[in-house]
Amino acid sequence: MGVATIDRVSRDNTSTDPTVRAPLILPGNDYASITEKVCRIVEAPKPPKAWYVAFGVAASLTGVLGAMVLYLITTGVGVWGLNKPVSWGFDITNFVFWVGIGHAGTLISAILYLFRQKWRTGINRFAEAMTIFAVICALLFPGIHVGRIWLEYWIAPLPNQMNMWPNFRSPLLWDFFAVGTYFTVSLCFWYMGMIPDIATLRDRATTNVRQIAYGIAALGWNGSNRHWHRYERAYLLLAGLATPLVLSVHSIVSFDFATSMLPGWHATIFPPYFVAGAIFGGFAMVLLLAVPCRSWFGLKDVITPRHLENMCKILLATGMMVGYAYAIEFFISWYSGNPAEGFVFINRAFGPYAWAYWTMVFCNVVTPQVFWSRRARSNPLVIFAVAACVNVGMWFERFVIIVTTLSRDFLPSSWNSYSPTWVEGLTLAGSFGLFFTLFLLFLRFLPMVAMAEVKAIMPLPHDPVRR
């Protein structure tokens, strides 16, 4: 190793110089400092003031969500603006939006793991947490939109008093199995990844309460290499299983639309288009969370500029896939020669919901283009703004798909328009409250960076020569 190489290891790890290997973790860190940096967030006697403010807002919104759900259940779905034929509105828009957010977490934890993308270790833990919380928000909406929620168990293949079984040809039932499996597997993956890090917190505990609580959660992990051997194998297997699973989940969500006959929904491009959109929207949420967290909690050495830059590149790539899908949808509606299809797409772009369509195009296709510039990719403010834009755009994408098609189907006499009520608006806001409440609790009580995984990709300490 020459002197020149040492000089060139700078704290800017976004260099594209192919002769220098960019460090995954910024130089000046060792195993102990990684533990210290991650654990002190959880071990500090009090969280930063910003945490209290954010938690107060998020918890209040969660309360609003609870009130809205209670109002809905006690009164009926008439409190929402749904009608015939627009029987899906904010509810399913929010469901698809939240379940899509989750996909980035699984992509980072499973797919990037299989592809040996070592940089993922800095961000996988909190991205997986994001997945869990987003799927919880997602599961809420199909749960409450059915109207008589006390009959929800009908969807499960359980023996009941009617001697009937669910219809397994329905994509809505596939969805129940897909999202349920997704939640369970993501939870296993997330918790399993956390066991060694919770053991670290247990071993550093200074109070009995912490030692017992983390002790129970760590399941008695003691770093045994015989355990690590099976653990790593289980991790690889889970990554291998979660990879097709995550692709299947949003494909099946898209089947809810694609297997119907409605113009604008009945399209073979839907599964890959939805998966790309989910990863796009999910990475935007990861960036939205990572940019403030890394500076509030002093994790800039672990979640480095290179991590942000890589994620920006993924955002740019998936954004263009989504843009391509938008264009192809238009092309196919013309090429099919089907007048109903053609009308739906003209109506999307120039009809009563044109404002929503162009918001979607601007946010999802235009704004990510700034990431062609390296300066934009390394500016946290720009990243945050674009990520926020993409989240808005991806919500509108689902709104446009659902509402423009339902409100204008084959028969003009059954056309109707949809506008949400205040209850739907507050329920959407409340779902963000629930998501951020859970995420803030996670930041406060659990290790937000996978310490053991980060240590495993750090360069080994200097090897003393033995004879």
Partner: protein, 183 residues
């Protein structure tokens, strides 16, 4: 329960600390070659090369996961066939009662669900976790095993265990500290 064992307590084994993962891997190969069987390494992260140095046989976990996946596939197919074609045939847009293509999504999800749960629970069961007490937890220095310390522990019940000779072996292999641990 002191950090350092005393003569009165029953000896559980010896715990040796190493300065680096590389030292630990070399020591592990020596301990393996010396014929010890009841011993283990404890590290904050999985150390590359340690499995081989310890002579760990590849786990059977993947076979359990495969079996669970097959059970998931079979039960998914059987359940949907029996429910929708036999026990309560549903006429849906003139499709055959046993419509295999429509059964694939649920079958796939059940396959992944059972295989994943088996990977997670199987890992814990094969590792004999949860286990909330371990003699090593009595050693205060061992708490750094989950932060930045590299340990090797040999149990006193190992047939080759001899307090003096085993300690000598560990010291010769550049252990920075060797602690007796009470059972």
């Amino acid at each position: 329960m002191t950090a350092v064992g005393n003569e009165k307590g029953k000896l559980w084994g010896l715990l040796a600390e190493f300065a680096s993962p590389q030292d630990l891997v070399r020591a592990a190969a020596r301990v393996r070659d010396a014929g010890y069987t009841k011993w283990d390494a404890h590290t904050p992260f999985p150390v590359h090369g340690l499995d081989g140095a310890m002579g760990i046989r590849t786990t059977r976990l993947p076979f359990f996961v495969l079996a669970a996946g097959v059970v998931g596939t079979a039960s998914g197919l059987l359940m949907q066939w029996w429910m929708n074609a036999i026990d309560y045939p549903l006429i849906i847009s003139g499709k055959p009662f046993n419509s295999l293509p429509a059964d694939i999504p649920v079958t796939f999800e059940l396959t992944v669900l059972l295989a994943s749960l088996t990977a997670f629970i199987g890992m814990l069961v094969l590792n004999a976790l949860p286990r909330f007490h371990h003699p090593l937890f009595r050693n205060v220095a061992f708490r750094r095993a989950t932060t930045d310390a590299f340990f090797l522990a040999i149990e006193a019940t190992d047939p080759r265990f001899d307090l003096e000779r085993t300690e000598q072996l560990l010291v010769l292999e550049h252990a920075t500290r060797v602690f007796p641990v009470e059972g």
